[in-house]
């Protein structure tokens, strides 16, 4: 674990993190806190996890030298192909780990929240694999926006509960999953989908995603004769794919870490999800972190064309990386992300997820030189976004 940016005994990254939870959740979270490190470090757990990651998820994912993209930006760009994972994104690294954790804890019932549906699908998938009951909470508005993922979850045997409270999106789905956990304190495990929530979730999820940077180091050594790139670039919703891509580089100060948030229609437009710019320190879903809120401390609804980046907070590790300056935070608009999505599709024959396209669009902002090695975490594939992509470009064409 990182010396300088690892989690403290009490669950803090600098001043961020902790477990701000009502007593009703305490036994569940405490049980996990007491046991998670020990379970993860058991050799049998590691063996089972790695076997699944290899044979079921399809790891290691390739580190692909994108030549035409590199030419375009006059630097050397490697894409970490998390889009090639089973179910199409990095999300499954975490759900495979957590389902094994849930089994070790003797849990019989799995709950999860989902926004775009990627984490919901990844959770439903591992529940099918493990033969455990799966209930996914999803904002009602999101169930309508992301119908194919709802159908996939159902096909996989999960129950999808449309959430009608609050603003009916990801933050409310998370509230509802937490309420479910309060009401089912004994037999249920909550598989949270990012490096958010009360301690130990941010650390546990980061550990399960850390496989990304572990592989990057090995693969770079093979391809470049050095383990350390000059840049690692990743998009940040809650922050799990970025946490995984940064993990084994956190203490390597020569590696520039670039975290890319969604600016939506523009950081100052009132329709944005750029938490590190717009957020203030507060409490969301049991964690003290940066979050978007009103002056009165009411949590506000973010906006991004990408449902996976549409979260009003950011994980406490990232709040710490932003505040300490360890990572550079860049905000990318809908328009720039969509342009980058089309660019990668045409230059490399890879259709990225809209989330990952935000990271791609940041390539023009980082000024990497021809001698630099840039690793960009391509967190997911664009299949799930096809409707959004088509609608977006149709509207754009109509306006011209």
């Amino acid at each position: 674990m990182s010396k300088n940016y690892g989690v403290s005994e009490r669950g803090y990254y600098g001043q961020f993190g902790g477990a701000f939870i009502p007593e009703m959740l305490y036994p569940n979270v405490e049980e996990l806190r007491e046991k998670y490190v020990q379970i993860i470090e058991e050799p049998e757990f590691q063996e089972e996890l790695h076997l699944l990651l290899r044979d079921y998820v399809g790891r290691p994912t390739p580190l692909y030298h994108a030549k035409r993209l590199s030419e375009r930006y006059n630097t050397k760009i490697y894409l970490k192909r998390e889009d090639l994972n089973h179910t199409g994104a990095h999300k499954i690294n975490n759900t495979v780990g957590q389902i094994l954790m849930a089994k070790r804890l003797g849990k019989k019932r799995i709950i999860a929240e989902t926004g775009a549906g990627q984490h919901g699908v990844a959770t439903a998938t591992v529940c099918a694999l493990a033969g455990l009951e799966c209930i996914v909470y999803m904002g009602k508005i999101d169930t309508e926006r992301q119908k194919p993922n709802v159908e996939k979850m159902k096909l996989l045997g999960a129950t999808v509960v449309p959430v009608t409270s609050g603003s009916q999106t990801l933050k409310d789905a998370t509230n509802e999953a937490i309420r479910d956990w309060i009401n089912n304190p004994v037999d249920t495990h909550y598989i949270i989908g990012s490096v958010v929530g009360p301690h130990p979730y941010p650390d546990m999820v980061a550990r399960f995603q850390a496989i990304i940077s572990e592989e990057i180091r090995n693969q770079l050594l093979e391809k470049e004769g050095r383990e350390l790139p000059d840049y690692v670039v990743a998009c940040v919703g809650g922050g799990s794919n970025a946490a995984g891509a940064f993990y084994h580089f956190l203490d390597e100060e020569s590696v520039k870490l670039v975290a890319v948030e969604a600016a939506g229609l523009g950081v100052d437009s009132g329709h944005s999800a750029a938490t590190s710019v717009l957020g203030k320190t507060g409490i969301i879903h049991g964690s003290k972190t940066l979050l978007m809120q009103t002056e009165d401390g009411q949590i506000t609804e973010p906006y991004s064309i990408s449902a996976g980046l549409d979260y009003p907070g950011v994980g406490p590790l990232h709040a710490h990386l932003a505040q300490s300056g360890r990572a550079q935070f860049i905000a990318i608009t809908d328009a720039d992300a969509m342009e980058a999505l089309r660019e990668l599709s045409r230059l490399e024959g890879i259709i990225p997820a809209i989330e990952s396209s935000h990271a791609l669009a940041a390539l023009k902002e980082i000024n990497a030189g021809p001698e630099d090695v840039v690793v960009l975490n391509l967190s997911g594939r664009g299949d799930k976004d096809l409707n959004t992509i088509l609608t977006y470009f149709e509207q754009q064409d109509a306006q011209q």
């Binding site: 309060i182 969301i284 949590i299």
Partner: protein, 265 residues
């Protein structure tokens, strides 16, 4: 140890304590003080005023909905504390403010305690403030302003932890009746009885009030046989939705709870 209306109440009355929860700014923005006056006149022993929050994750649908309405009505901590100015000329019952930590943090924790104490608030319930943080960071501030902090316990809370909470507390312990969010229908069963007697047998220094799922005269009286009193929230919020004028709604609900003399616990 604070000496406020809460600690005084528990010295004077040891059974059948009726604690009523309502959301500030619900049903109408200006109802707060009216409801307080009517609750006191109708025999509530203490009150919890809910400070509405956009994301009340320990609350069930009824209280969630009242939070949304209250926020739409324009309720905020600033507005609430302004409404409570001068309230001590109108009511004497202990007042607790209950809500989530984030709005309080944004107001400024110390400034909030200072302003709350000044208008006559006696205690706070902040369910998502962990007690380790409370001990380290917040306790001196609350004590300085004479405010009590009330903690929750649930059937899953261990004996050791209950004792720790008892040591930190100086008013009462909020005994959540079952593993649930607010407003759930609670069935009394063996497991619950075992929990109640387990806690009773710990011989705690603080009185116990049972909350969550207390909805009518029957469940109130049952709770009072086990504990020093009980807390009614969601059922009261529902009563406020009745067509009658707000004072009348408060009066008839409390009458339904307290209609006949209750058995001494």
């Amino acid at each position: 140890m604070p000496n406020n209306r809460l600690t005084q109440l528990f010295r004077e009355k040891t059974g059948n304590l009726l604690n009523v929860y309502f959301t500030a700014g619900y049903p109408k923005l200006e109802d707060t003080v009216t409801i307080l006056e009517e609750l006191e006149a109708s025999g509530a022993d203490l009150v919890e005023i809910g400070m509405p929050f956009s994301d009340p994750l320990a609350d069930g649908p009824t209280i969630q909905a009242s939070n949304m309405v209250a926020l739409d009505n324009g309720m905020s901590l600033k507005v609430l504390l302004k409404q409570l100015e001068g309230v001590r000329e109108k009511v004497t019952l202990p007042i607790i403010l209950m809500g989530y930590l984030n709005p309080v943090m944004q107001y400024g924790f110390e400034r909030f305690c200072e302003d709350a104490a000044r208008v006559g608030v006696d205690g706070l319930i902040l369910p998502d403030l962990p007690f380790a943080e409370y001990e380290e960071e917040y306790k001196p501030i609350l004590e300085k302003h004479g405010l009590s902090l009330i903690f929750l316990i649930t059937p899953q809370t261990s004996d050791t932890r209950i004792r720790q909470i008892d040591n930190l507390t100086n008013s009462f312990i909020y005994m959540v009746s079952s593993a649930s969010t607010t407003g759930s229908q609670v069935q009394t069963n063996d497991a619950q009885q075992a929990y109640f007697s387990r806690v009773r047998n710990l011989g705690l220094k603080n009185p116990l009030l049972i909350g969550f799922g207390i909805s009518d005269k029957n469940s109130f009286e049952l709770a009072c046989q086990t504990a020093h009193g009980a807390i009614i929230g969601s059922a009261f919020i529902k009563a406020l939705q009745n067509a009658a004028e707000v004072r009348e709604n408060v009066r008839s609900f409390l009458k339904s709870i307290k209609s006949e003399p209750t058995v001494q616990a």
